[in-house]
Symmetry: C2
Subunit: 671 residues, 2 copies
């Protein structure tokens, strides 16, 4: 393996494979997102950037791309998968990506998912054209992650047939709301719904969503609505995030998005879901698309940064290689340094794996949205997977883009080379649509119940119930290409005989680690419970263990998706190359966590040392393909926008070399 | 150890300990850097920010603080240590920090170090008052890390008695030069010095520095000088970085900073250092203060971010702890979560260690600058240590500030909360004053020669010479508090009997790891050489090993400084607390690299698992002190500037709690 044969890379085949099921959507984005209007910019003032982003959004609306996510009943194409893929392609300016997500995904998506046909007909056509710019007003200053404890109230007044929407204090103001500071006219407001109990008291029904106008057509805040600008942010300054307060704002009863809970004119509450907790999580579950979109968007930002950094590293030279018998002295391309390969190539490999995992996830979301019957378990699995993938994909983005910044040196710090903006814009992705640490815990809790039961979010009651249980065994369920993966595992040789590059061995190893960590965690939680310890304390003390379980699960999910992706590749030689990339993914994950494998006697020390050596070998072997592998994602040159990635460095070096050849005589003339 | 007794923390004692030898300078900075003029700002346009930074710099000049770094002969106080400490305190706006570094440290520092008395008298008084704003024009677009291959030329014309400074092409333009785009009037230009050989040819003398006027008093570029703005950057937009081209620009012979190389009127070159390579590295070595300052500045940015994130985490609450018999339901402070402690507290511990190591380094620099005789070996050690500390301190800053951003959630993304700017401003610290990856390799190469010989920068000849050598043994030299550390190690029990908290065992373990990695590397390089392999390839294939050796060395250096620092603490109880913090530093380093300790049979799996458990215990035990430990660095509240760290969160929660108590009746009135 140490010296690897050169392989042919079929670029068209690879592009087709990566473009995947929604290739036409990607191609459409490549067609549409062109020209000055959509080109990357930097150095705009916040106000100018916001104005530009709104213009872009309107232009985008005219292309029909927003229609993907909406029902046919209102002129949409009802293609959820397409809507997620379209979102993730908007990397030329991530402010547009996020603004689009707010308008069509969050605002429009909430009306679609939580409203009923009347709401769809009334609002969605204007949402799609951006005639009605809107907000998704969920997060409050006091409660971001813990949505169930939002404190804005919507109290039904049977006398007038209206809801009174109210912000009791600063903690309950809506915060970080996209589209609020400048453009939004309407907001889907999440609030604690209360109806009169007929005896002067109130009945609480938990969090529901209502349509609340926040500005008139002239842009003036509506009576009782106070709006504040969140001001400049680290990035995404084309998006106008703001704060909202409601002072006894009255809206008609029909403004309640009433798919999961309705209030009759007389104030009687009704819902198809009896249990308040279940109703809450069902409602939240319908909004899962946003989280999946964020994972995809993070992926594109990562790909763009890697494309820039790898192209630059492939041309940039620094320090000379001394002359040998066969070669003259020459400066070394920085991607020829092992340390530089180690910075960029394992990250590229993981980016491929995450890409395939994202495609799997979008497909599931899409299929589920099409299915007639509601499959609770499949929905729960989708939500858990989305939580996990969002966490690992956005962390990977943050880490990789940071690495790319450093890998490009001073050039990577200049705004003109795009990386600063990609870094700053994507930085919040680890936080919004769910804090990663919270999400990874949600995933682990779902693993502990094998998706059968729900803990709710970080609900302690469900946890206590779990801890009081008896036997626990992880059920490892394949997430992709089941027969293939079963076959590979079955063919894997015994632990120590397997080649380091045996895929069956890899799959088995990842599966075994996940199982061991999860079961160990279950035992630990139950053992502690028996001692009568406080459920919160027990869980809290195991929190690093909880997060490790989530990560191990996602490593396996990503690997299975990678394997399934390669299996779809129609060109043998290209597939072979992708297999090497997959080896690099697997072995760099093992290397990173090799302490675990040693501590649990899964690998010998000789074997872990061999893994590190193999990572080096693979880096060296993949180096000649790095540029093409990074380019295969098909992000247009003008989306990358960075001169260092678009030939500036080559041109400079050519002139330098010509000058160096001509230098001496010129110098003599000068002196 | 699991349940730790509460300890008294003597805040004044701790402040004194951390303020250290240059406490008066820190106090002076706390006095001076106050009020609106110096307060953190955000959202300024680049032009406004630059104007403000220049104003701040002039104001700073009036305080006399810049005088620290300059000779008494020109009115300075010749206190190098003070100049470094003053630099690092300017965290209220890091653009000012860097602008100050450019003007006084790099520009003034180069004149001081490379020039002779005539230059000092002529320029330094105006440098100190900023009457002469200037640039340090070393880096070129084509060569940043590889300074020896700079391509700007300074060719002596004996006829006119002038140097002709020339930029042959785009690769040789000066790039990223601070003070160049807007304010600089003079530049110290690094160029390849050439003198006529009397036969129509030229003799090359390597890189030298000259004073070259770049703008007239009105700010117009001088004839032959072209200036371009680098434009917006990720951060530090108050600093006007630019590019410079010289088209046959003529300066008088006396503009050569001639301490290490001079040209007589007739063109004869002379130097106190015969060997060109040695001369080059000697000249570079005199500029080491810049690198040390950057390590210090990165430290302050880290401390500021941690102070913000830890204060916020100490007050911010999210998710409820379920009611138990003894306690009502309540929301949990996020710093009470283990995962959050793990994010912030080991980083705080390492920040302490780096702080003490920085103080050691500054002291060495200071002492060396005072010594009459030049000690080559001590100088070489200082340079290596500076390279290593700059690398680990700036990587630690990047990683920690990123973590703080996430730990503060959406609040951490708002410009008003400072973290975005601290992140963006400090991001380039891993690159400027030497790319970290390059620096860490330099350190390792010095370790391989036990500081006796020099490889030069990444010089292949020296490397080949090393590889051809025979016996190699690391000489572990204590870097701080030698008798104490020897005593601790001597008292350490055997490997497996030692308590996890035994300091002697820690010291021995770190020392042993460094020795093993370095000696293994030496053997590997020499073995390969014997096989007749190409020196470059051999070294490149071992690059991850090379970097690991540098890291292991720095872990030990930081630990020894930490131990020595605690030894200076006058209060027993506070020292005990610092020892716990030091335990957290050591054990989290071991945990991170536990795979190495397992692979090399230094620790058993039982022991590494115990280390992870101990890290958790220490986090929990240190949590009650976290805010005071972060505050002990004495960064003024107004420097932090972030509302979330200055009481906004507490006030909000108090109102919320009052509202929650009063809520029900109010709701009833509304409905």
């Amino acid at each position: 393996m140490s010296e690897q044969a050169l392989l042919k890379l079929d670029e068209a085949e690879l592009r087709g494979l990566l473009d995947g099921r929604w290739a036409n959507i990607r191609e459409r984005a490549r067609d549409v997102i062109q020209g000055e209007q959509f080109a990357p910019v930097h150095g705009l003032s916040m106000e100018d950037h916001r104005a530009r982003t709104l213009k872009q959004l309107m232009a985008l609306a005219e292309t029909g791309m927003p229609a993907y996510g909406f029902p046919e009943s209102v002129g949409g194409t009802d293609d959820i998968g397409a809507s997620v893929v379209a979102f993730e392609m908007l990397v030329a300016d991530m402010s547009l990506m996020v603004k689009m997500g707010v308008q069509f995904g969050l605002f429009g998506g909430a009306i679609k998912a939580l409203g009923t046909d009347e709401h769809h007909q009334k609002y969605l056509p204007d949402v799609m054209t951006v005639a009605l710019p809107g907000c998704f007003a969920m997060t409050e200053t006091g409660h971001g992650s813990d949505v169930q404890r939002l404190r804005t109230t919507a109290t039904y007044d049977a006398g007038s047939g209206e809801f009174v929407v109210h912000t009791p204090d600063e903690s309950a103001r809506k915060d970080y709301i996209g589209n609020a500071a400048r453009d939004g006219r309407m907001a889907v407001v999440f609030a604690q719904l209360r109806t009169p109990d007929g005896e002067g008291g109130l009945i609480e029904h938990g969090v529901h969503a209502l349509m609340v106008p926040i500005r008139d057509r002239k842009g003036k805040p509506m009576p009782g609505v106070t709006i504040e600008d969140c001001g400049p942010k680290a990035g995404l300054n084309g998006v106008d995030n703001g704060r909202l307060w409601f002072d006894g704002v009255r809206v008609p009863r029909t403004n309640l998005l009433n798919r999961y809970g309705d209030v009759a004119a007389d104030g009687t509450y009704s819902s198809p879901i009896e249990n308040q907790n279940r109703r809450f999580f069902t409602m939240l579950g319908t909004l899962i698309r946003g989280r999946i979109s964020v994972a995809g968007g993070a992926g594109t930002a990562t790909k763009a940064s890697l494309a820039i950094a790898i192209r630059y590293a492939d041309t940039r030279r620094q320090f000379t290689r001394p002359a040998t018998d066969s070669r003259p002295e020459r400066e070394v391309r920085i991607l020829d340094y092992l340390a530089h390969q180690r910075k960029l190539l394992p990250a590229l490999a993981r980016t491929y794996g995450l890409h395939f995992a994202q495609e799997e996830l979008v497909t599931r979301l899409h299929e589920l949205s099409k299915s007639e019957e509601r499959d609770e378990r499949a929905q729960r699995e989708l939500e858990s997977r989305a939580a996990g993938l969002k966490a690992v994909a956005t962390w990977h983005a943050t880490e990789t883009i940071q690495t790319c910044r450093e890998a490009c040196g001073g050039s990577g710090y200049l705004a003109q080379n795009r990386i600063p903006q990609l870094k700053a814009d994507s930085d919040i992705f680890t936080t919004f649509e769910g804090d990663n640490t919270v999400l990874l815990q949600q995933l682990t809790k779902a693993l502990l119940t094998n998706f059968k039961d729900s803990f709710g979010d970080l609900d302690q009651l469900g946890l206590a119930r779990f801890m009081a249980g008896r036997v626990f065994e992880t059920v490892i369920e394949r997430t992709a290409a089941i027969p293939l993966i079963d076959r590979l595992i079955a063919a894997a040789p015994g632990r120590d005989e397997a080649s380091l590059y045996n895929r069956g061995w890899h799959l088995e190893l990842f599966e075994d680690r996940e199982k061991h960590i999860t079961e160990g965690l279950a035992r630990r939680l139950r053992r502690a419970k028996k001692d009568g310890s406080d459920a919160f304390e027990v869980f809290n003390r195991a929190q690093d263990h909880v997060l490790a379980a989530g990560r191990a699960h996602m490593d396996r999910v990503v690997l299975e998706a990678f394997v399934a992706g390669i299996d779809r590749c129609g060109d043998k030689s290209t597939a072979k190359l992708l297999n090497r990339l997959c080896d690099l993914y697997v072995l760099s994950v093992i290397e990173e966590d090799r302490a675990w494998f040693l501590e649990h006697e899964r690998l010998s020390t000789a074997r872990t040392k061999a893994v590190s050596a193999a990572v080096n070998d693979l880096c060296r072997g993949l180096r000649p393909y790095a540029v093409r592998l990074a380019d295969a994602f098909g992000l247009r040159d003008e989306w990358l926008g960075a001169p260092i990635a678009l030939g500036a460095e080559e041109r400079r070096q050519e002139v330098q070399q010509a000058d160096e050849r001509a230098e001496r005589p010129k110098q003599e003339q000068q002196a």
